[in-house]
Symmetry: C2
Subunit: 301 residues, 2 copies
Amino acid sequence: MRIVAALGGNALLERGEHPDSDIQQSHVEDAAAALAPLAQAHDLVITHGNGPQVGMLAMESARDPELSHPYPFDVLGAQTQGMIGYWLVQALTAAIPGARVGCLICQTIVDSDDPAFGNPAKFVGPVYEESQARMLAVQRGWAIRQDGAAWRRVVPSPEPREIVEMPLINLLVDSGALVVCAGGGGVPVTADSSGRLQGVEAVVDKDLTAALLARALGATALLLLTDVDAVIDGFGTAHARPVSRARPDDLRGLRLPAGSMGPKVEAACRFAEATGGTAAIGRLDDAPALLAGTAGTTVRR
Amino acid sequence: MRIVAALGGNALLERGEHPDSDIQQSHVEDAAAALAPLAQAHDLVITHGNGPQVGMLAMESARDPELSHPYPFDVLGAQTQGMIGYWLVQALTAAIPGARVGCLICQTIVDSDDPAFGNPAKFVGPVYEESQARMLAVQRGWAIRQDGAAWRRVVPSPEPREIVEMPLINLLVDSGALVVCAGGGGVPVTADSSGRLQGVEAVVDKDLTAALLARALGATALLLLTDVDAVIDGFGTAHARPVSRARPDDLRGLRLPAGSMGPKVEAACRFAEATGGTAAIGRLDDAPALLAGTAGTTVRR
């Protein structure tokens, strides 16, 4: 079986932790241990988020006195693919004896007229108090939004249309390699009429790209791995209960918490609808149980 | 023919230029145009330096108030592989219609007891005046050295022993892909007795890694591309003259300028000695002429 596993950016760095290299590398080692049983039994392809990481590098770049202007998000996203890919390759190689692991830098084509460019909505970087966020918005030209009790920077998150490196990903997977790819949703690029690619200031949602990746790979399962047990029906009400099984239409009708559960549900629904395969949302530690349908939320059409 | 081309880190950023993203991307586009004729006629594998880039990211990380301690050079090197790899993939795709281009994140195994760890010698990052460099050395625990008229930070540069991702590089090259890999000499790692890899605070010389890569690929030519015409015999004397052809033993006996020509000459000699193939040192713009032996310095055993 071919399986795509998508790791949340927060699986590498929990809220409140310093974004230190060794802390994240330690979380990546835990993630590799959780994924090892799946990689040993199946053709596994791993993708990952990069919200906290790309936000950190964006802050560093904005502070760099040597630069005329900070690095754009396509380039910062490519930096995070290299960094997180390196951590994952090293940890997976250690966790799975005999595995041949590789990370391919990936670009994701988006539409230049995607309405997301007029409505930045993807959270990146650290949390701020409202007054500080409003000051940064003025100083740096950021768009900001409330995220729970705190405030954060937001950038456009256009729809992923195509992963440019798909033929090479397929080639590596067919060879039996364990592939890490399309990190952070892939570096967002637009394609002109001649096919020339150009980076854009955006972050593609990594769960939606994971669904696209899983479809293009002909995967039979898509695991969206996060730090909650399952999708919750009636979130925030007295009747809240975890959903263990759902069809896409039912799942789309639920009242979901703010944040990243919306894109996860949408990614799961798209994959299940388009392929007839199984999508699952749940804890990284439960990855094998999610695939077996004994933990998390399982989505089938 | 299979050919390895190694681009200098300074081909992406000239001395005195701001390390802006758009400036480097423009240089990468020039490099892609210079390499396009080779890629159309041969199986080309491209590697690149990262001295200015890894130095910039190291400075940014050292300034980041969110971090308990700056990121180590293995992780920063992986970031530069993602960034420069992305630029190269995008520019090569535009310069070579129909090319399938990919960048693989690579680790290079070094010996944990390499004497370089006791003698940091690889220049990274910007140039400083002596007094400023000495202050930074005290403040940040850097090793520093004189580089021409200026001073710069230095880190250990151990010998590259093996490129971990070699089987995957071969697979991609065999498929006809144009591969970008082992950027910055590869992320330096040590391997323990069980084969477990661990990053180390170092930068592997990208020309020596390029020679290793070319040998492992069974390449017939290795092009070491820089911003000087050729190796100069009698450098700094009244009898200085460019060397157009040389055997490794002759070349090793020359008096060379300080800086990166020494590793280039050593890399060219190692490749020519080990394989019987042709190594050439010269200008990026002369890449096709270097391969033809009509420009630069050609090295054969």
